[in-house]
């Protein structure tokens, strides 16, 4: 805490210094006609040397202007230039500008102003950024979109709404943290998670690998995914409805209305339902009864089983009420988020155990406040503050006395009830009360240095109740707590005509947990363990652009991450708490280059990105199965390290036809030579078990205009993804022919959308897993086969 105060004092002093030297200035926001901010627009005062280029958010600032009349020259490739007369009289002049696309220029030059995504990738961080503009009309889940990105692997356990795990360049599990507009998503509830959010609500997805910037204020050490939502200044409304295989329906409505007074309302709501009743067969999918002498009969591709307790339904609404573009705030919103989720649970950790009645329900209510202001109190001081309270109630309903098999038939009676465990029926309600506070500030220093501070506090109290309380669940009924402080300080600079970008940062973590354990002497007794751990992290990111087509970048971080609430406190059902859990630590290095875009002849373009990385993780938090029902506990496992590389190749023809190919190879090894008790580890140097290590994606998309109707647009894509076979267990254990494997998967998806001439209405069609392959991300957990979806999109905007 003393450090935080010291940093704030430092910033205050710097602010005072800057104020003394301030003069007249012009600032503003430059957007396109849809209200989307434009990055990299040149804004110059004619006949002076004063000017600026818009930042990621489309803002510019020209300082130290003497009083007088000027002409503001605004130019950006791909947009019509503007000359705007302006009188500089007041101390602060705000001039927002809207640029109009220059289609004739585009067709000739084939270079556009850099999108935010491209600019992001030029930072020293190993980051990919995906603009969702072209794909948001499709029936694609965010998980699917990200899965096609270099170095990213999303492993799902089933259909829509199923559990998932991200892997970024070899780091996986909770080492990967998710953010929405820079706010950790941990407390938004399962409904408002990355796999459920409609892509149409998202403007851009940023994927940080290995090294995470300070402004994403959390203890992510393996990577971070930041979903950036729309922040338009204009009024708009969008609605979409998608329906398709497995009785899947998705509705999303998103809109904004801004009054002249600056009062602004936003609504984002979505509803998703799916039966997820896809066909499964093969290993683990069997039945056996008296007619077969209880010998198992496996279902086959010709006679598959149908999932029958896997339905998923969620509805979520987020309402923002506040002000935008006011003198005192760029944005100030009070937000209410409410969500409800209901799902069937079809299987345990593998399909060998099938459930017929187990269900999960979850409700989240989350009020929050956000405040954003650029140049607060003084020029160059930007503040972004967020505070939220979250209440999540999740229920595991496992009260059935009936045993089901894959035919969906009742085959037995469980005397104690409950399908998931051996301890009888359960109706466990978990209650999470959370608070999160975030303060993010940046201050523009002289000589193109920028100081950044990010502070996040999060605290969670978890308790539960169960009318059928077995003794082992007592620790989860009494309150357990977890709290963490995160503070990060960064110094960023641009040098040598913006060719060199560097970002040096230091991070501080503090973690406190109160965890209950159950001990038995002559009766069961709760023992409360308190645990406090602090850690420091440090890192840097740098890039140097040697030429327009050649950029080198590198980043390095020594980081830690605190155990998540479920890792530390358990979930009362399948995950036990761990009073002795420790933070996971990692040392990550990235080295990469971006080559291109090279223009070849007149119409062809080529861009290649290469990235290599090193990871060294200690005390990795891994879920360890402890009983025959696959229940377990998160435990620290030492030690995993290794190298990896990825390549991303993009070819375009007139920027209408685009072909991309990316591949990732990981060589992460078990580097624990001796265990804690001094015993030698026989799997030392083995490749990491249950970890995909060779991934590739290839895709082609084509955009064309005026085919069926004038001003209409057709977008088509064909995408393939490949994951090489990998072992469930350590590769050197057992003979190769006897090993349990997650088989190679090669999946093809395709889709097409048609945007009508009004540009308001888009019709899209998607088909996933075209060849109806039997696909697995996890051992004996089959994913859906071929599925088709139609989506209708309608949007209006000022």
């Amino acid at each position: 805490m003393r450090i935080v105060v010291a940093i704030l004092l430092l910033i205050t002093n710097i602010s005072a210094y800057a104020q003394v030297n301030s003069n007249r200035q012009i600032k503003g926001l430059i957007t396109d006609i849809t209200g989307e901010p434009i990055v990299g627009v040149t804004v110059m005062l004619q006949n002076t040397s004063k000017g600026d280029a818009t930042d990621f958010d489309g803002n510019y600032l020209i300082k130290n202007i003497p009083q007088g009349n000027y002409t503001l020259q605004v130019s950006a490739i791909g947009f019509q230039s503007q000359n705007i007369a302006i009188e500089v009289k007041q101390k602060n002049i705000i001039k927002n500008i809207t640029l109009v696309e220059d289609t004739s220029q585009l067709s000739k030059v084939l270079i556009t102003s850099k999108t935010k995504a491209v600019k992001m990738e030029e930072h020293g961080f190993s980051v990919d950024a995906i603009e969702t503009q072209k794909i948001k009309s499709q029936s694609l889940e965010i998980n699917k979109i990200l899965d096609n990105t270099p170095g990213v692997r999303v492993r799902t356990t089933g259909g829509i709404g199923s559990d998932f795990e991200y892997s970024l360049d070899g780091m996986s599990g909770n080492a990967i943290r998710f953010f929405i507009d820079g706010i950790p998503m941990d407390y938004y509830g399962s409904s408002y998670s990355i796999n459920n959010l409609p892509v149409s609500l998202i403007e851009r997805i940023e994927i940080y690998k290995g090294v995470v910037p300070v402004e994403l204020g959390s203890d992510a050490l393996g990577g971070a995914i930041n979903l950036v939502t729309k922040e338009k200044l204009t009024n708009f409304a969008e609605a979409s409805y998608s329906f398709g295989s497995f009785n899947t329906h998705k509705i999303a409505v998103h809109g904004q209305w801004r009054f002249n007074s600056g009062f602004t309302t936003r609504l984002s709501t979505f509803y998703t339902y799916s039966d997820n009743n896809y066909k499964v067969w093969g290993e683990g999918v069997f039945y056996g009864d008296e007619s077969t002498g209880f010998q198992i009969v496996e279902f086959t591709e010709d006679n598959p089983a149908e999932r029958f307790n896997d339905d998923f339904e969620t509805v979520s609404a987020k309402l923002d009420l506040g002000f935008t573009q006011k003198k005192w705030a760029d944005q100030f919103f009070v937000t209410l988020l409410a969500s409800d989720l209901k799902k069937g649970v079809q299987t345990a950790q593998t399909m060998s155990r099938v459930f017929g009645k187990v269900r999960n329900n979850e409700q989240t209510f989350m009020p929050s406040i956000i405040y954003k202001k650029k140049n607060l109190f003084t020029d160059g001081l930007d503040v972004n503050a967020f505070a939220a309270y979250s209440y999540t109630e999740s229920k595991v309903i496992d009260t059935s006395y009936i045993q089901y098999d894959w035919r969906g038939e009742e085959i037995g009676y469980r005397a104690s009830g409950g399908e998931m465990g051996y301890d009888g029926r359960s109706l466990f309600t978990q209650k999470d009360n959370s608070q999160i506070y975030r303060l993010n500030t940046t201050y523009q220093l002289p000589y193109q240095f920028k100081l950044g501070l990010n502070y996040v506090y999060s605290g969670l109290k978890r308790s539960g109740e169960d009318p059928y309380t077995p003794e082992y669940r007592i620790p989860y009924i009494e309150p357990q707590n977890i709290a963490s402080h995160f503070a990060g300080l960064s110094l960023e600079t641009l040098k040598f005509q913006d060719k060199l970008r560097t970002n040096l940062f230091v991070k501080f973590y503090d973690y406190t947990a109160t965890i209950n354990d159950l001990e038995y002497t002559d009766q069961y007794e709760i023992i409360e363990y308190k645990n406090n751990i602090t850690n420091w992290g440090v890192g840097y990111a740098a890039s140097y652009r040697f030429s327009n087509n050649f950029l080198l970048k590198t980043s390095l971080e020594k980081a830690a991450r605190m155990p998540s609430p479920t890792e530390a406190l358990g979930d009362g059902v399948t995950v036990s708490n761990n009073p002795f859990i420790k933070p996971e630590r990692s040392f990550n290095i990235n080295l990469g280059t971006i080559l291109g875009r090279y223009s070849i002849a007149e119409n062809h373009g080529l861009k290649i990105s290469l990235n290599s990385f090193y990871r060294d993780t200690k005390d990795k938090l891994l879920f360890t199965v402890l009983d025959a029902r696959d229940n377990g506990q998160f435990q620290n496992v030492d030690r995993i390290s290794g190298l990896g590389g990825e390549i991303d190749f993009i070819y375009d023809f007139k920027q209408k036809l685009k072909f991309n190919l990316n591949a990732t190879y990981l060589d992460l090894r078990n580097n624990l030579e001796y265990e804690e008790d001094g015993t030698k580890n026989i799997f030392y140097k083995d490749r990491m078990r249950n970890t995909p290590y060779l991934l590739a994606n290839a895709g082609i998309n084509y955009t064309t205009n005026n085919i069926l109707q004038k001003n209409s647009k057709i977008y088509t894509y064909f995408q393939s993804s490949y994951v090489h076979e990998f072992y469930l267990d350590w590769p050197s254990a057992a003979a190769a022919e006897n090993k349990r494997t997650i088989p190679t998967q090669l999946v093809f998806d395709a889709g097409m959308s048609y945007t009508f001439p009004s540009q308001n209405f888009t019709l899209a069609f998607d088909v996933s897993n075209i060849l109806n392959e039997q696909v697995y991300d996890n051992y004996r957990l089959q994913k859906p086969g071929r599925a088709m979806f139609i989506k209708i999109n309608y949007q209006i905007s000022e």
Binding site: G284, Y287, A415, E675, T679, K680, N681, S732, K739
Partner: protein, 405 residues
């Protein structure tokens, strides 16, 4: 059906005295009649950092045994090796494999999920009569699941729940069976459902087999504690059909420190009842309180047992440290001999079913040290053993050893 049952019983009795009750520990004569596929004579099951593996070998003495690059994934500590086939619990199944020259070949599975909804089978007992008896301890209603698997057809012959009778108002908390001809004896621990009010005597429940009807409660006042064992069975059928049984009377097992003062004993069951004239007080052979946590029958009235001093246990996890001592117990002469084999966490050794040419083979996996197979000369005394083949490394724990041929 009844005729078939009677025929089987007569056949079994004819061979009693000629064979040891566990066919996996069969005599040389038996072994000579079955051709052992290459590299299949023994099966070694291991646990490495919480994952299970197993492999087969023809040599337990000279060379090292490795799961690196050979063998199979999965736990095999709960299995049975019978007549060239290996039966092992899988993921909701009981799986059958055949030993062949090219390795173990999967045959078929029985769905244990369908047999025992809401529970599982903890014990797999080879009756020696072409059947496996699967069982678990009782649920809170006192019903213990069981299934009888006919090995010839690999189908379920009988299954359901045994309702253990209440004894003096107490319920059966722990059970483990041993089949002896047309009877099955269920070793038990009795008490209240919350494991209080533990019975102060030894209780065994006898049923007709395989009907599992006509329960008869057998009681002995020789001591207290469980006659159902823990990892291993606490009851053994000798070549003459006599059942010997020991108790597990640790306060760490049943929670009653007062009852834990009663001795560790071997008792005898003959003609369907406890023989009160035979009580072999094992505790009397030691200077401080001890318990037998595991025991293996080697034939000729010789037992090998894992003895742990009560004072060496300060927490449950201590059982997995090097506090187990192997002793040789002669049930006929009533002598106990401590073997000069290293102490190890023998409590996690589920099966040691390997007897050949008067030798008993047992894995010794030292916590923080290496794992080896030891060859013990049956009845040979404290130093009649040799250290045999070693396993891969020091984080390997051998949790079962079977003789297949």
């Amino acid at each position: 059906m009844k005729t078939n049952r009677l025929l089987k019983t007569i056949t079994l009795n004819l061979f009693l005295g000629l064979t040891i009750i566990f066919t996996s520990c069969s005599s040389d004569d038996d072994a000579a009649t079955v051709v052992s596929p290459e590299n299949s004579k023994y099966l070694v099951s291991a646990d490495v950092d919480g994952s299970g593996y197993y492999t087969t070998t023809d040599d337990l003495l000279e060379n090292s045994i490795s799961i690196i690059g050979s063998g199979y994934e999965g736990y095999a500590n709960l299995g049975a090796s019978v007549d060239g086939y290996f039966y092992v619990f899988g993921d909701g199944t009981l799986e059958k494999y055949e030993f062949t020259d090219t390795g173990m070949v999967y045959q078929n599975s029985i769905s244990t999920e369908a047999l025992v909804p809401g529970s599982f089978y903890r014990y797999i007992h080879n009756t020696g009569d072409g059947e496996l008896f699967l069982s678990n301890f009782p649920n809170e209603d006192g019903d213990a699941p069981y299934a009888i698997i006919d090995l010839e057809t690999f189908t379920v012959e009988n299954y359901g729940y045994m309702t253990l009778p209440q004894v003096d108002g107490r319920s059966a908390l722990w059970t483990q069976p041993i089949v002896n001809g047309d009877e099955v004896y269920i070793g038990t621990l009795y008490g209240d459902a919350d494991w209080s009010n533990i019975a102060s005597n030894l209780i065994t429940v006898k049923y007709d087999y395989p009907s599992l009807e006509n329960p008869v409660v057998l009681q002995s006042t020789a001591s207290s504690g469980s006659t159902g064992g823990y990892r291993t069975n606490a009851a053994f059928v000798t070549e003459t059909g006599t059942i010997y049984q020991h108790n597990l009377n640790s306060s760490w097992w049943h929670g009653d420190s007062e009852l834990a003062n009663n001795p560790t004993v071997f008792v005898k069951i003959e003609n369907g009842a406890y023989d009160d004239d035979y009580v072999f007080d094992i505790s009397a052979e030691f200077s401080e309180p001890i318990n037998i946590w595991n025991a293996w029958y080697a034939g000729d009235n010789i037992m090998y047992a894992n003895v742990i001093k009560e004072s060496d246990i300060t927490a449950w996890a201590d059982l997995s440290s090097n506090i187990g001592t192997l002793v040789e117990i002669n049930l006929a002469t009533e002598t106990v001999t401590e073997l000069n084999i290293p102490q190890a966490p023998y409590v996690n050794l589920f099966k040691a079913e390997c007897i050949e040419n008067g030798k008993f083979y047992i894995p010794v996996s030292i916590s923080g040290g290496n794992a080896n197979i030891y060859e013990i000369t049956i009845g040979g005394g404290a130093n009649a053993f040799q250290k045999g083949a070693s396993l891969d490394g020091s984080n390997v724990y051998i949790n079962a050893l079977y003789r297949n041929f």
